[in-house]
């Protein structure tokens, strides 16, 4: 039981993620966690004005069910499959974040400095969450996939477009973390 309750090592987690991809391919579908965003636009009625959202979203219900499952999985894990262990971060990371104003790094999955009610109700905090969401939603559709679609599925099937996209993910991520985050915090 300890093995389950403690955080799982990378060499267990990585293959299990590819098992998710394999299962979905086995069921005749694909592994992509961002296409549901397009589906939701379509459900709300965006297809009436924009052709990109004009498709039979009912064929995508299975993907929304995967999303629902992912939410439930998150709930189950926090409530029943976790102990109080902290994220085993590099001490240098913790110090660095502390200097930027992030306290108790690794005690939670996301920093309270960005996701607590106080942060959410402050103009800066709200703006950052909205901006982040916009960038992810816009970027993922522009690039035609996200981490699951490009980094896992695309690279596993040795596709060049996915390699380019993943290089893009990293260029963007490196710039944000190394140059922009220190300006924001």
């Amino acid at each position: 039981m300890e093995y389950i309750l403690n955080p799982w090592p990378w060499y267990v987690s990585g293959p299990l993620i590819s098992l998710v991809m394999a299962l979905l391919l086995y069921f005749g579908k694909t592994f992509g966690m961002s296409s549901n965003l397009r589906t939701m636009c379509s459900i709300i009625g965006a297809g009436k004005t924009t052709s990109f959202f004009k498709f039979n979203w009912k064929e995508q219900i299975w993907n929304l069910i995967v999303v629902l499952g992912a939410i439930i999985g998150g709930f189950i894990t926090t409530h029943y499959l976790s102990n109080d262990s902290l994220t085993d971060l590099n001490p240098a990371t913790v110090v660095e974040l502390q200097n930027m104003g992030f306290e108790n790094s690794g005690a939670t999955l996301v920093p309270n400095e960005m996701y607590s009610i106080e942060a959410l109700t402050s103009p800066k905090g709200l703006l950052l969450l909205i901006l982040g969401g916009l960038l992810v939603g816009f970027g993922t559709r522009y690039a035609g996939g996200c981490t699951s679609g490009h980094a896992i599925t695309g690279l596993s099937s040795l596709q060049k477009p996915s390699l380019i996209a993943v290089i893009g993910f990293f260029i963007g991520g490196l710039i944000m973390t190394n140059f922009i985050l220190p300006l924001i915090f």
Partner: protein, 137 residues
């Protein structure tokens, strides 16, 4: 009932991503600072085992549930959309510390502010859909 298997896969995915800490904002930060091997190990072993699975299935050893060949759709050719879209995605990923899968999973763990991020992501997708024909691909 035909959706039950997808619900179970989703639940499994959610569990794996929380237990692996891949949904941790701090892990993403650490990765982009090259201060930990953890995320590289996860992504690397995921791709390695994915390649192995697809190479095996390519030889017809594994078939889909309906008996057809395992099929991975090909991404359209191109460079511009992948590099620019990728960079924009990377900005958002590193800022909020979550890509689309983890957004939902974190909501399940009780990070309710994630609803704001998800709505913004839907809006971002909508903006792309509107601007699509004007953007270089």
């Amino acid at each position: 009932m035909k959706y039950l298997k997808f619900l179970l896969v989703g639940i499994f995915f959610g569990i794996v991503l929380v237990k692996s800490e891949a949904v941790s904002w701090y892990r993403i930060y650490e990765m982009f600072r090259f201060q930990s091997f953890h995320m590289y190990g996860i992504i690397g072993t995921a791709i390695a085992s994915g390649i192995l699975f697809l190479q095996i299935s390519k030889r017809g050893i594994v078939k889909s549930i309906k008996g057809a060949d395992i099929f991975v759709p090909k991404k359209e050719k191109g460079i511009t959309r992948y590099i620019i879209g990728g960079i924009i995605f990377g900005f958002g990923w590193a800022l909020i510390g979550a890509c689309p899968g983890p957004m939902y999973i974190l909501l399940g763990t009780g990070v309710y502010s994630m609803i704001v991020v998800i709505i913004a992501a839907i809006l971002g997708t909508y903006i792309y859909g509107v601007l699509k024909d004007k953007l270089p691909h």
